[in-house]
Symmetry: C2
DNA sequence: ACAACTCATTCACCTACTTAGTTACTCACC
DNA sequence: GGTGAGTAACTAAGTAGGTGAATGAGTTGT
């Protein structure tokens, strides 16, 4: 859990100050992939499949959109849905108005599992967030915005 | 870039408040994988290879430790080093004191590339961080710590 | 001295991706 | 109301990059 830390030794040589906020920020930047990896191994799914379930828990979508969201080919997303379907996590349903399309829908059991794993996490993050005063929130927003801008600039 | 957002609709239904800080936090949580994916496609390397380079830019390590850090088998890490070596990004050197070991060392050109891509990013993140007052930093640290604790609890 | 461990590697196998091509459907337009 | 362009889902064949198991070489504790 210490990726992107190559430049950490630059800090050690004085390029910048190694503050606690900076260290924690780096850790937070890796949280999504960390949680996803953990969830994947806990459920016996691949990370890609977990990612698909995350999107599907928002709303039903088709294989084509899954492909766009996960940045894979539609051939791959067909396979992802195949595997999730075989494990009983999703169902394919014909789209009401467009007969080319398939809607991929989470099954109840899968929805329960997703919510039980991620719901608690978001709830407690939301608690921390809710404890911020308005002035504090401004500070946090400025900090996070800065981090995002910096990361996007590297792209 | 909107993963783990399955539970977002719970928020819409009133389970919690959808604040700006919360939205930004979710975005920051995905930054590491986002940056890595971008870097990988920009350099023609796999994400795993990029991750290995990130670690190698800190200090030379052997294939066995690469395997531990990236959570793959040593068979895989041998292949990772093979590919990085073939592309001229690393060199294998015999370890001074332990003749079982190989030290994998970044080449100068690879080091320059890593620093040019990630150095700028960390520099501008550090700038944002440096602009915090002591009181503000306390707020940010509390917020980030809370997020990390919550995420770890989900594990 | 030797048993137990570690490191790097190879091998056979497998999973999950890719590209290319097919079929079915929708929609805008003349 | 047919036609052309575009999109959805899928199949087929090939490939990248992972796995577990086995091996040879070197190290360490007792």
């Amino acid at each position: 859990m210490n990726e992107l830390s190559d430049v950490a030794d630059l800090a050690a040589r004085g390029a910048w100050k190694q503050t606690e906020s900076l260290t924690l920020l780096r850790e937070v930047m890796g949280l999504e992939s960390g949680v996803r990896a953990h969830l994947a191994s806990a459920t016996g799914l691949s990370e890609t499949e977990v990612q698909a379930l995350e999107h599907l828990s928002r709303r039903p979508i088709g294989p084509a959109e899954i492909a766009r969201l996960l940045d894979v080919s539609t051939a791959a997303s067909t396979g992802i849905v195949d595997r999730l379907e075989a494990k009983g996590h999703v169902e394919r349903r014909p789209h009401g108005r467009d007969r080319r399309r398939t809607e991929v829908v989470l099954t109840d059991s899968a929805r329960r599992e997703v919510v039980s794993h991620l719901g608690a996490m978001f709830r407690s993050i939301a608690e921390v967030d809710a404890s911020l005063t308005e002035e504090e929130r401004v500070v946090v927003v400025r900090f996070l915005r800065g981090a995002i801008t910096a990361a996007e600039a590297a792209s």
